[in-house]
Symmetry: C2
Subunit: 696 residues, 2 copies
């Protein structure tokens, strides 16, 4: 508006006029500068933001991602080992070479490694066979860690074999019905049935087994692979539960009951599907229950015996998280976090370095934006976690250490573990992020269907766009959602892959099977990085709490159906209504503030206040007392139920109380269940209050 | 700078020039208005703030305060009773008549009232006397509630009397040593020795007593007064522990173990010092231990017997908190809270309505400021609590209900219970507020020493300005500090008064003894209201964390002395150093931002960010797991130790662990103690992190 003026002024103004005019301008500008420092804010500019988002999308390349993955997967890099250090340096150099502010956070944590192991099968005909305990074709120089279960105790057993299907409680009941007793035996179980490794081992322990062998069914081409993994309960370093295991921090004693209760008491190892099949085929004893459909005729015990021996060590190791920080211009103290773990059981081409490669490419593309003038409104932090494979150790220690600041300042956490393992976009999120996910997937090209967006192909494949929730504890979002109450997303291309945690999870496998052209990596990086751009740059946070309301209503209906009217859900209904009201109010306020974009008083502070409420609403779902008996889990809507058989994949406290009420059938059980429903109702009310923001 | 210009322009400008000039001005202003909405912020103006503070001080009057007190104390007004409703309306009308935004928050809570009680003493000579159970000179119409202990169970006893001094564990040990057995007796104890009423009763219960009579020594002129009070453990409504007891909220059953554990199991009543003296003078049995110095020769048991009978009822009653809200202009979502309870055991002239009168006068004076153009930067809330006398019920329910918003938005809570009960200024605070208290007391006239400030007389009287801490649970600051971690102050004039909780706590007593000229009320209102003005208006919050650092160092030294090197305090030292570093950084940043008052970019957001850190640092001392066995108490620096004998009036978890370690003398005791020290160290680290504000 000022620009068109100079020409006519030249015509009209005499010299003193010109002088005076300039003087006035200078005075006015001076006055503004002195009295209204905020006048020097760069104007919020939607056009500019749009341009940076377009630039981000157009800077995608699959070649860079492939190169990063190649470099990351040259050697196996289990957390705490020497080659793992190389990947730390690689990530760190990448960030700093791009000119990004980089730092590391290191922790000392109790990890666990194998020393010696052996397994032989002894058949009824007197023959025996030594079962190789590693993938074929590996030499010692490859450095692939022997198949083992981290945190398994050392131990040996020479005993009859029983097949226990998935090793669930119902499987043991079926065995008992079939007359098979597992006491004193070595059990073989297949992985699955939603049962974590640790639970499969603990169930076997409870039923008197001496040792456990777990195998994973799948693609026969890879059935000589061993699925490594941990068998510890809970998340994070067992010696620093609830606080960061930094230099000089308190460590519980290894013999502390709090520590001991996290480990199983009988040893276990992974077994290849091939070897498992060979042993299971020789079992006699009871017939396999029909519903197992496991391809096993008889379940034992015996006559085949195994000689099982495992020796491992638990050791304090240094682990390192690596961060790149892009400081926000207007709100440097609000954080949008993108995270992926870096440590792998073997080469980690899928798990997790497909995600790492995507993260590094986002860093590259953000650096380009920075060079072309971009500064995010809020701070963006790229996080490369260590020791996830041992139980989300790196991320958990960091979240515990930074809890007080994450609690008041973290806008969202965006997790990608395995970026690409096959076709099909999958995403899990806290519900207020659903809409943003949909919007962003409409902007990103689909990797598998020419001319389509991720959204379109996703919709076409599933008929609905199905966003899952974050009740599991299977990647680094767990501490963010379930301990700190930070709105979170977890996403990946492809769902299952046959080389999971085996030595076959290599760059070659990725090139042949997982994502030959790296287009899926690119799509994930696109969605991931663009979601972060919105969260970091949008003047009003793109959080939609109606979606949370719908989800909670659905949970209430599911619960109602399960309870069949035996318990009042009135408190839940009232709380959800309050939450719906708060969501509506927040939405209206957001609309008003968007329209006020460039007028009105204190708009910046008003936006900040609304954004804070949008950010903090999720914290309302936390309860300081946490889940009964598992205090670390503070989120009352999303978290793992104690019993995997629960039909509730939400309200974990209610799920536990329901199981207990069903099994005890006492009045006390019903009272506890009602109390847990009240607790969830109050959590929803807290979220509503945080969203509304006013005191009662 | 613009002002001097108009004159010359008139001389120099031709008409087209004038037009153009105006056009330019309009364009420039338009440009600024459209692009820099913040330019319309009223400039922070120290002069204006100073003027409003002066206006606040000069608007003090003792006559208004006296009138408010007179009106509030016309009738006794125990929480939940009809006359209590009148005081609610009085406060509410006062606020709304002043034009202040007013609202109430009501709760249903379990209160307790007396139905019938009787007491007679039966002497060895066969005579007996019925002991009157009310203050003399009261008629039924006065409506003064009978002396009782709220939440005492009903019950009766006909048994020998034993005198147990204060009723502490050491007193029972002394009795045992003297050969006096209290089992089956009615014990008489004097109030004192830092022992809460509930603990005196529980100790008696543990030693087998049948009933308890508590009397209060003091001014002989009032020795026919009865000290009413509650004997419940913990704070807040026992049926809604940890959440607000609003309409339709969950209520625990009266028989729930969580509820039952809060009440003693033997009945108790207050006794006047006069009656107690008469009974105690007739005791035989063992000689009173010399160190008791209680004026009692022999402690019994007997030969005097008492016939004790108390019948009371616990009832769900409606209680109401009343609020006046003065919305902040720039940061409406940051709260400075001033609170006082309104309910009284009798007339409440001292306790609590001297504080209420001061609060109402602050409201009057703030309304004057508003009429002269003042709008605070942050929101100020005046809070009038109900049912404090039953265990901080009104404030606790409100804090529990609003925890999520208070946690993120409450700047400070300023409590005054009894404003004036005698000479001498006393104050307790969380340490970051020390400096502000000192500065403000330098501005307020001393009520007792002509020409002196509160500060000068305070200094002269005590030789040091002694600010106490908030570890007690004796007024409404307890939920704010110990559950929500809000920086707080509690203050009063005078320390002890002889009519505490008796029917003599009347307006007449105040006029004759407590504060005849109401100058102490005025001084408290001055300090209270001025502190709030600073907290609400200062652009940088006047929090000084060096004072907290000094205090923590002192605690560490005390602890070191007590432990005599048997336990490492290294973690504590490291944490305090971190906290000191954070305090220094915050101080530097505050200095820089103050100098930047009117220049630089994003100053407003930077100040908000720093202020948030200053506000949230106190929350760092909270631990979600709370104190062992008393989870509601979340603050690890300030809170009540379980055992009143503790020498530590800070670090309540450490105090408990120390007592336990001393009594058990096991290795486990030492381990627990070290663990509690670690917990405090981590709490201090969290506070340091919140103050620094950056992620690690």
């Amino acid at each position: 508006m000022v620009q068109p003026l100079p020409k006519p002024t030249k015509l009209l103004l005499s010299k003193p006029c010109t002088f005076l005019f300039l003087l006035i301008i200078i005075c006015i500008l001076g006055f503004y500068t002195l009295h209204y420092p905020h006048a020097s804010y760069p104007p919020s500019n939607r056009q500019t933001a749009l341009r940076f988002r377009r630039d981000f999308l157009s800077s995608a390349t699959n070649s860079t991602v492939a190169a990063y993955l190649r470099a990351l997967t040259l050697h196996p890099h289990v957390a705490g080992t020497k080659p793992s250090l190389d990947t730390i340096h690689y990530v760190q150099s990448h960030f700093s070479d791009l000119g990004l502010q980089t730092h590391t956070a290191h922790y000392h944590a109790l990890l666990s490694y194998p020393l010696r192991s052996s397994l032989s099968a002894h058949f009824s005909n007197g023959s025996h066979v030594d079962i190789p305990l590693s993938e074929p074709g590996l030499s010692r120089d490859d450095g692939v860690i022997k198949p083992y279960h981290a945190y398994s105790p050392s131990g040996s057993a020479h005993a009859e074999v029983v097949f226990v299907n998935y090793g669930r409680e119902e499987d043991y009941r079926a065995l008992e019905a079939a007359g098979a007793n597992v006491s004193g035996c070595v059990v073989i179980a297949r992985r699955g049935g939603e049962l974590p490794r640790s639970e499969a081992v603990r169930n076997a322990e409870r039923h008197g087994a001496e040792a456990v062998l777990l195998y994973t069914e799948g693609d026969v081409r890879f059935n000589e692979g061993f699925e490594r993994g941990f068998v510890m309960s809970g998340v994070g370093d067992p010696l620093s539960p609830g606080w960061g295991g930094v230099d000089g921090a308190e460590r519980l004693d290894l013999e502390d009951p709090e520590v001991l209760k996290r480990f199983p008491n009988i040893p276990s190892m992974p077994l290849s599907a091939g070897a498992a099949g060979a042993i299971l085929a020789t079992l006699g004893g009871a017939s396999a229950p029909g519903e197992w459909r496991a391809g096993v005729e008889r379940v034992g015990p015996g006559p085949t015996l195994v000689n099982f021996s495992y020796e491992g060590e638990k050791k304090m190791m240094t682990i390192q998280n690596v961060f790149a920080v892009i400081n926000g211009l207007e709100e440097p103290d609000r954080y949008v976090l993108l995270g992926n773990h870096r440590d792998a059981w073997t080469y980690g081409a899928v798990d997790p370095n497909s995600g790492t490669a995507a993260l590094l490419d986002i860093a590259r593309r953000y650096a380009l934006l920075i060079n072309s003038g971009w500064k995010p409104r809020r701070t963006i932090i790229l996080c490369s976690w260590d020791a996830e494979e041992f139980g989300m150790v790196g991320s958990t220690e960091w979240v515990e250490q930074n809890l007080v600041n994450l609690g008041s300042k973290a806008v969202a956490y965006l997790n990608v573990d395995c970026a690409a393992l096959g076709p099909g976009f999958f995403v899990r999120a806290t519900p207020q992020l659903d809409n943003l996910i949909l919007e962003v997937t409409k902007k990103v090209k689909d990797p598998d269907l020419e001319g389509s967006t991720v959204y379109e192909n996703w919709l076409a494949t599933n008929r609905i766009v199905d966003i899952q929730r974050l009740s599991g504890v299977d990647s680094d979002f767990a501490p963010f959602v379930q301990h700190a109450g930070v709105p979170s997303i977890d996403m990946y291309y492809g769902r299952d892959f046959p080389v999971y945690h085996t030595a076959f999870d290599s760059y070659d496998w990725m090139r042949k099977f997982g994502d030959p052209l790296f287009h899926r990596h690119v799509a994930v990086a696109g969605v991931w990085g663009l979601i972060a751009l919105h969260l970091a740059d949008d003047s009003i946070l793109p959080f939609d709490y109606f979606s949370y309301v719908d989800q909670l209503k659905h949970y209430k209906d599911v619960l109602n159906h399960l309870l069949d009217g035996s318990i009042s859900l009135e408190p839940l209904m009232t709380a959800i209504e309050e939450f719906a009201y708060a969501a509506r109010e927040a939405e209206n306020e957001a609309q008003t503030l968007k329209e006020e974009e460039s007028t009105g008083e204190f708009v910046m502070m008003k936006k900040r206040a609304l954004n804070d409420r949008l950010m903090l609403a999720e914290r309302g779902f936390l309860d300081t007392d946490g889940l009964e008996g598992r205090q670390w889990f503070k989120h009352l809507v999303y978290g793992p139920p104690t019993d995997h058989r629960s039909e509730l994949f939400f309200f974990p406290g209610v799920a536990d109380a329901l199981n207990q009420a069903n099994s005890t059938k006492t009045g006390q059980g019903q009272t506890n269940l009602q109390h847990e429903i009240w607790r969830v109702a109050r959590a929803i009310q807290r979220a509503a209050q945080a969203l509304r923001g006013d005191l009662h």
